[in-house]
């Protein structure tokens, strides 16, 4: 009997010895009202990743993550579901297939194989017709108006959806009740019908990105003229500041027209993302003096001045927009889209097997001037976004600074993140859009800014519950 008592007492001692940490911090909305949350933006907001739009990407978009955290806050100020996004049909990618990692083989050096992003052969996803997934259901409610490819200036373009579809970005269609019934409708009208209580707006990256992706082939100095006035610009131009300001202002005023509060997210420095930093400008490695002598002789023979190859790492030979063939200088960027085999098999950046100079074409190069245009435009756009946040009393999320932090490398919950392509963990296989974990880091930045500005207590996100790059 006594023994049983002792065993019982011991069991009680063990049961009592179970520590716990109370983490309930009373999530609250503070001065904000998250009950009807709307996300406005481009591909980053849509959940685009690995070079395409997939249903997984959409379900793990940063707006979906934010909604999940806003929904933890109790009614009446917490978010109420469902969170409606115009989902595509699957995980292949829409309209084209996404990238996956796969083995690739160098045709010049058959033994040289490596893992690299490849287009996932197979099928592509569809949307339900060309039109709004949510059309006619959920009372036309839509919570994520993230349109891949859209610029701030496109918000005032009549018939933008039709124009974009012709340019292989058939995303905007989905947000109209009947695009054929109102072919000249502007996207800003779609936003005007949604009446959010809280919104986030991350627009403007594409106003500089199109220029950069085209290797600086368009107009970068802010004097571009519309191809269809007043606001439809060529995709490879940087949007002029005046057009940017007035269209951004209009989109913003539409979003807040029914009294919504929200957060404006500024534009990161796109020249620090892997798409522009993965292929090094100083990437021509010569191991023998003979190689350097041969190249020097070739370039001298063609009459180029000031080009000198040495043993070791050399800057690639590039063609700049003025038509000059010259060596790249420090700070200049080679685009990730430059075909690998062109460099390894056809001597791009040095000379080909026939002894002819083969500079990297200017469509794959951002020169010092072009980079400066991008940085200047980004700075000016961000100054305007901050000005708008100030005058409308909205939170201003300095994503530009956060990307700078990321560029120098951060460690979060046991994972090192950097802008290194694939291995950095934050950017997906297209080198431009984040991974799910990258989006979660971004969402946490937005949350901390919102909490500070609206005195709210929105819990941050467990980044590790999401995926990084997936390996075969």
């Amino acid at each position: 009997m006594k023994k049983i008592f002792i065993v019982g007492a011991v069991a009680m001692v063990f049961t009592a010895c179970r520590p716990s940490i109370h983490v309930n911090q009373n999530p609250s909305a503070g001065l904000a009202d998250f009950s009807n949350y709307l996300a406005i933006g481009n591909s980053l907001t849509a959940g685009y990743t690995d070079g395409s739009l997939t249903v997984s990407g959409q379900l793990h978009s940063y707006p979906a993550m934010l909604f999940g955290q806003f929904a933890v806050i109790p009614a009446p100020k917490g978010a109420v579901g469902p969170f409606i996004q115009p989902l595509v049909s699957g995980d292949w990618g829409y309209p084209g297939p996404k990238y996956i990692l796969g083995m690739t083989y160098n045709p010049c050096i058959p033994s040289d194989s490596s893992l690299a992003p490849i287009v996932n052969t197979g099928t592509s996803d569809s949307i339900n017709g060309d039109y709004l997934y949510a059309s006619g259901i959920n009372n036309n409610q839509i919570n994520n108006v993230g349109v891949p490819g859209i610029r701030a200036v496109d918000y005032k373009v009549a018939g933008y959806a039709i124009f974009a579809k012709l340019n292989k970005a058939p995303y905007a269609f989905r947000f109209y009740n009947n695009v054929n019934g109102s072919p000249n409708d502007e996207l800003v009208h779609v936003v005007g019908n949604l009446h959010p209580t809280f919104f986030t707006m991350w627009l403007g990256a594409n106003d500089v990105l199109g220029y950069a992706l085209a290797g600086g082939q368009g107009n970068g100095n802010g004097t571009a003229t519309p191809i269809v006035p007043p606001y439809l610009y060529n995709g490879s131009d940087i949007s002029p500041l005046i057009a940017f300001d007035s269209c951004y202002d209009l989109a913003l005023n539409t979003a807040i027209s029914t009294g919504a509060s929200g957060a404006l997210i500024n534009i990161p420095d796109i020249t620090s993302i892997p798409f522009f930093t993965t292929v090094p400008a100083k990437g021509l490695t010569l191991s023998r003096q003979g190689q350097a002598d041969t190249l020097n002789a070739i370039y001298a023979g063609y009459g180029y001045k000031g080009i000198n190859f040495t043993v070791g790492a050399n800057y690639f030979i590039i063609q700049d927009n003025a038509g000059n063939t010259r060596q790249a200088v420090p700070g200049e960027l080679i685009l990730m889209t430059v075909p690998d085999t062109s460099i390894t098999c056809h001597g791009w950046g040095s000379a080909n097997a026939a002894g002819v100079p083969t500079p990297i074409p200017n469509t794959y190069v951002l020169t010092t001037d072009e980079i400066q245009y991008i940085k200047t435009a980004t700075t000016n756009f961000n100054a305007f976004i901050q000005y708008e946040a100030n005058i409308h009393h909205l939170a201003y999320v300095d994503m530009n600074s956060y990307f700078k932090t990321l560029a120098s490398g951060i460690t979060f919950d046991g994972i090192n993140y950097s802008p290194a392509f694939v291995t950095g963990g934050a950017f997906s296989l297209d080198g431009i859009h984040p991974t799910q974990r990258g989006y979660a880091l971004i969402a946490n930045q937005i949350i901390s800014t919102i909490n500070a500005f609206y005195k709210s207590n929105v819990p941050s996100i467990d980044v590790n519950q999401y995926k990084g790059v997936v390996f075969p």
Binding site: P19, M103, P472
Partner: protein, 415 residues
Amino acid sequence: MKKQVLAAAFLLSAVTTFGAGYQLNLQGIRQLAMGGTGVAWPWDASTIFYNPGGLGRMKTIQIYASGLTISPTTAFGNTLANSSAVTQRQTFAPFNFYIGGPIQQDSKFALGLGIYTVAGIGLKWDDQWIGRYIIQSINLNAVCFQPTVAYRVSELISVGAGFVYATGSMDIRQALPVHGQYGPGGSTDDDGTLHLHGSASGLGFNAGVQLKPSDNLQFGFTYRSQINMGVSNGSATFVVPQSLATSFPNTNFDTQLPLPQVATAGVAYRTMEDRLTLQFDLNYTGWNSYDSLRINFSQHTSSLQDMHAPRHYRNTLTPRAGANYKLGKVVSLMAGAAYEPTPVPNGFVSPDLPDADRLVGSVGVSIKPFPRFTILTACEGITTVTRNASYDFGGFSGTYKTEAITLGLGLYYNF
């Protein structure tokens, strides 16, 4: 698209120590019940551990054995992310064995052997918990063999010293942030994993002086040297997606897991017609001898490099107090308490060793049913303060609390 040589960098941060959380102060049952005190008063043959000098005071040869169970649990919470976790319940069973005494009746020389557990616990978090890329589970144990010699210089002074051979093992599991398209285990939800397993051994010594100015007032001073537990040819086993198999080859590793040096001073005072003995010990533990730790792999790739984690530990001063009260010829009661400050400063508090200041309380009973035979029992409760701390190397922070219950049973027999 530019081809890549893919090097999935990861953080091998579960580079660990036999830190305060893994050090057990369970080498004697009566001493355990008295808050871990015992350097001044040679109660029984476990003085081989507590103060080798005390062995010179023993009147006869004694054989001593004890077994314990310890069940530690650590809770974690991240208030920012509203998430929490608790380690799985595990029970560990350290043991001790001593034999020793004068080489012959009334000799001033004494010999002894101690076999005792100095570390023997672990933590096991849920495999999917938020800190899995730092640690999923860890298990460290170390048993010491200590042949000891003591010499009673005079009635006042007795000295002793022992050579210490420590042997043990380490076992660490952590997740790697590489998801498989087809999954290492066939599922896309699986992370990669790393399992480090190895045997460790090291050498040191334990020396002490026991002073007995009177029957009722005694002092003890001891020094236990640092023991560098070297792990050589441990096995590092990776489970990663097939395309990364060459980046993370299964290989061997070497590392060092140091047990810190400890200097102890103590006093014991007997009063109330010899019924009540009070003890007070002070441990000075030299944690700062390892500012950083390394794991060296025998094979390297662009993804797999030697790992290095900083650990700026502080030396600590631990006060302990205990009492033994003789109810009669047969039964004694013991009680004690200690305050163990953590050696781990903020910024270095890793979930593989979520150390914090610890409060220790203990009680025990000894029963002497026959003149030469004694049974000892003890129960110790440990709780840490709730600590909000970060592990900057791993970009990880949260609030921790650890609790542990220890139960011990010991027997000794005097020949």
